[in-house]
Symmetry: D2
């Protein structure tokens, strides 16, 4: 499947001439660039026009991508240069019984994935937890962060700012509030490194993931600072807040919701439904903790990322946030009656408003759990934690009992298949 | 949106009675469990039947989820309990000019996301790189890992095994080869920790991501070991290989493809298309590296996770692998003619066969880049690296020039919207 | 040099008999144990008696170890089973000119080391900084941590404690105050992980390192909790506070003093005294930051550990604390007039009272900087940071200029010497 | 204790004038610099002369520092600007019974520390291990690393070097061998990051720590490369090898000796000598592993740093290496007969020749274990690991039984003492 147009051909030739050296410059013709369409091109016709352009340019047929069940005008604000949709298989796992402050009852959890056996694995764990009496959950913190850097001439100047900033939190809160009703600046902490001062701002973001909202808010704060503190240049991002990355900060300070879920799984449930003993699961836990330590991993868990990615895709979350959300800690502890199991996710950045949550399939998936819209984010976080716990015990049991490969043989696509007709 | 059935109501009552204490045990009725359908229920009718069951159970309407453009029988092996698809908005960024060993020419990159401004940001960077003469790429390693643990009575017994294992690589290769034509055991390394020995097996996996394939293969090896080495009990996973997690091991030893991409961006391109100077970008790089160090992050980059998640969803990759793939290192270096920029991804687990790559929209997305099927994974890896580099310079420039928030205001959905009608 | 006594011989035989298997049990005779002497044996005579016992037991002569210049009774509280002293070579580096809030003026820094070229390297950097106008320092935080774990039946019970604990800080402060006049509980933060709650207590410790003091204090707090909160079992240590280890927590939350030091080094100083340009040093910084990222290191610096270990040994600090204290961030930034250089140490656990600070040579070393006794710890921390900055620029320059090996050839012991006569 | 000389006073005034701004430059008079003495001043007279100079300059009396039991000429190569010695209290812990390949028998371990209760704690653990039948040890790897960076124009040029370098290992070995008989280049691995290539060289260093030796050797290799590969500029250090720092690389790839030590401690030994049950120790292990995970720590252990620092000071090791050596993994596992305990140290950089090992007290300390000189480093590493294991179980038991604070009250100096007369 080769690119067909002349620009590409022209380029490849020059690359060949130069021994893989880039040509000093490349002149792109307008026809190489994606078409710029009226009003950014979100109506059906223009999306089709763009799709046709891509088909012509690349030789690929995009029939399935072009098959969506709703007006693409709805995509405005969620994507640019739309040509259609990726259809990601969506299944359901559950039920899981949750005893939380925000979520209570039996839930069925939508998961969008292409990894065979994943849903079966989570389902098995969730059902076992439910039979065990259900999962207790607790939402321990709810704060998003953004951390601009301020720059000064020298260490002493930076120190003065480090002392000044916390004293002006009230004014900063007012500046932040001028940009949004939904986000709320709650506090700040300065990290001075030489003559650079990173200010980590904490925000409440309600039911939104809120990163764009608080970026706007933080910029208003930074401008206020610049007006009131001489010679404070800044950059809006320092990386400290660890949006979309794994870090010690994410584990220590969190990001979005910090949530934990736990359950006591009795011996007979372990045996009947997971085919393991408590001692076997402890052995898996201990030996894989040691594997994580040997790996120098951030946190410890079997596969939060699997469950989170599937739920995030299904429900319109920012999927890149899986990188921070998957940093957490699973614990298995012997108990006279069985095994106490828990998961703790310090950086679960989930939303029930904003982002992709209102797109048609995503909204439906949230509604499956009664989690669409305002006032639902904490409930959703608790359900996610309970589901993730199901995945942890199921994976642990599969490893302990030696069933892992067999399960993937049965449910999965355990070999690279040839292209289908 | 409440659950309506009696089991759920019953449960909530008991939870209330117990002050959030889980009931000692819960009896699930068959009607609480997802329906078990004939032949696992992948035909259209049974998928619809399951969907109706979920609708009845949860009160949600799943009309859009039920709208897919292909026979759900194709989902077999990719998902269980299917009820339909998540439709994730798919757009196109590019072109990016790539000078690699495996990828050469102009490419348009499909990205599935719900995050407004993301594609515009990547597109801007990719076009700037192309105008700058294109991106050099290099594929530096291609090996996946799986790391079982073996257990012994004591340190000395484990040491004997640690000495024995590397001497029997040839037999282990044969055992591995008995399970697959596609994966190939290439080597092993023992990490003894006390009386536990983690053996990290390296595999070539061709064009597949290969984790299930090599799990099966590794199990065959472990069984061979058990037959030939007395008292070697094992567990198939130790966590060392860091599948789907961030770790020092991922950075050091990699996972899947290790790939790098770089370009020299001349001063005038920086100014005209990215609205920054080389010095400004260096300042962003330095100050955000410091933010990452202060955060205790694994690796350093602006937002690999964003681009990777969008491409992974579009092309049928295992999206949970974003957690390892996003561990990498971006570098910006002053150069007399401009700025030399590069990205290095030590753990880019991408595939062009297997997993979700053959599903209809995913296959189309791969075809857009000429990357579907056998012999294309290395090409795909190089294109991904080039695209990711585009995202890095664009984000850096947005931070440097203060345009970040403005761009999100223009293209994004910068406030939690109310539920749409 | 073999052990001579029969117990040892007996043991070796049994080991041989068992193929390196440990004998099922070993009966130690009283003569195998170190002698238990009257009043624990700190007087000159008994120290000599113990030394003679060790000599007899091991065949080693301990003449130099037995040569100390003061009454060993002073060792009580600092060591058990004393046989004498290690004489560690002590030299002086400096001067370094410090402009801090607590330290001001020219300082000469004592360093105890056996690594040739180390002092010369630090001295060169310190003198260059002084010629450049001196070093600004800032002490940004001063808090030590201890983090007990509390255990509960289940997640919900742990959550209730997590909510309860911060509301009883006042009573906990009182309980803490009952054990010490010097340490002061300043705050707490709960980290719930499943049904375990780690409570990180922050303490002011005045001029002491304070770990033992706050352990005692925290135990009093834990006992108070147990008396006032039903079913709260605890362990005094969780490891969270990262005493004597490297961690993300140490970087984020610190330990002891957080201190930074910076200086603008003009071009001509760089050239004349360090034989490098600003651009060369930036290149070293950038390329070694990348090396650290590739290594998955905690923090970034050239060799804090060298300077800290030498100063800690000289001045009676707890040398094991070098592991946390060496976690920090060095920054080199281009400046029109030269290079702005800084170090930031978030976990500098140093003391001027308690620990080994009052031992004769250690006290003298502290007095060399006017840093012995009450009210001096912050001053000392600032001097240490300035000295460490000297080491960073000197090492950077040695790498940049290619002088590293030459310097070690000149000053060091660059080959394993034969045992000296 | 103030500095008395006029230069210092002059400086302080100018600092005051400038509001803590550094003066634009400071003119140091020759009298501010440490005296440059004939032949670098290692003879008794000149050491005394320097000491007198420091006393005059700082007002401190250095009588005890000046008390050393040997000719300071011996300090040449170990330190510059010597004024005497730090006398660090030295005690003995043990015995510990070791069943290793290199160390066999009962050993008494010298430890130099100022931390009360430390030796008692290690002794208690070592004796318990001995009564339990002794400690098995295994030396699993022995390789030091140094990792220069090479720089190229662009990614493709760097890739060519990455391919070229491993093919010329033989020539590089020859170049390395030209500088030393003791170090031996054994292999290399390239880590390309953009256009920078870090080459990690592995060396055997015999019984020396070897860092200076291999730096010299690696420089010879780099020069050979420069002569044979056009346009390969380099810097000798990249930081990758993680000398004197904690990192994922240190855990994964090691540094110096990788050594493990383990023992089965029967129930009655746990009870009689450590006052705990196996279950209690497991609980400490599990809950503190979780604390380490919550902290984002590198590795897991109770307090390797304490034992290592004390042994390193006593025996003339490079004490700054404690930062890498303390990165390791402790494991406690339930066993029908008791508890299996182990430590694993992947980066134990210890030597029995070179560095400070031949200084009088350090040599005596090594001789106490029969570990001085050629052919003893592996034996020493095994003893160190066994001693460290003693410290781990003793600390674990103190935490489990609640005796930690009591022990420090009894043996330690649990409050900042006033300066002694």
């Amino acid at each position: 499947m080769k690119s067909k147009n002349s620009a590409s051909a022209r380029t490849k030739r020059s690359a060949a001439d130069n021994g893989r050296r880039p040509a000093p410059s490349v002149e792109l013709t307008p026809s190489d660039l994606l078409p710029r369409l009226k009003d950014q091109g979100y109506d059906r016709e223009r999306v089709a026009q763009r799709r046709a352009w891509v088909e012509a340019k690349t030789g690929a047929k995009l029939a399935h991508i072009g098959s969506h069940s709703y007006d693409p005008e709805m995509l405005r604000g969620n994507i640019e240069n739309p040509v259609g949709v990726a259809q990601v298989p969506l299944g359901v796992a559950g039920p899981v019984l949750v005893h939380g402050r925000h979520a209570q009852g039996l839930f069925y959890v939508p998961m969008a994935t292409t990894e065979g056996a994943l849903i079966r694995s989570y389902e098995r764990g969730m059902v076992a937890l439910t039979r065990a009496g259900g999962v207790e959950t607790a939402l321990l913190a709810d704060e998003n962060h953004i951390a601009p850097s301020f720059f000064f001439d020298a260490v002493a100047a930076a120190e003065r700012f480090t002392a000044w900033a916390p004293q002006h939190l009230a004014e900063m809160k007012a500046a932040a509030a001028s940009t949004t009703r939904h986000g709320k600046l709650t506090g700040l902490q300065c990290y001075q490194i030489g003559r650079q001062v990173i200010v980590n701002f904490g925000f409440e973001t309600g039911d939104a993931q809120g990163m764009n909202m608080i970026a706007k808010s933080a910029e208003a704060v930074c401008r206020w600072v610049q007006e009131h503190y001489k010679n404070a240049s800044y950059l809006l991002f320092s990386g400290l807040c660890s949006e979309k990355r794994a870090s010690g900060f994410v584990i220590t300070r969190g990001k979005g919701k910090r949530v934990t879920a736990g359950a006591l799984v009795p011996h007979e449930i372990l045996k009947l439904y997971l085919h393991v003993s408590a001692e076997q699961l402890l052995r898996v836990w201990q030996s894989t903790v040691i594997g994580h330590l040997q790996a120098g991993a951030i946190g410890y868990n079997a596969h939060y990322a699997n469950g989170l990615a599937a739920i995030f895709i299904a429900t319109g979350q920012d999927v890149a946030n899986v990188t921070n959300a998957a940093c957490g800690i699973t614990s298995f502890e012997l108990h006279p009656d069985g095994l106490y199991v828990s998961v703790t996710l310090p950086a679960l950045t989930v939303a029930t408003v904003g982002g992709g949550t209102a797109l048609p399939t995503q909204r439906e998936a949230l509604e499956m759990m009664g989690c669409f819209g305002t006032g639902k984010a904490k409930k959703f976080a608790e359900i996610v934690a309970a589901a993730v716990l199901g995945g942890e015990i199921s994976m642990g049991a599969a490893i302990a009992s030696g069933e892992f490969v067999a399960a993937h043989e049965l449910y999965g696509r355990n070999r690279p298949s040839e292209p289908r007709p």
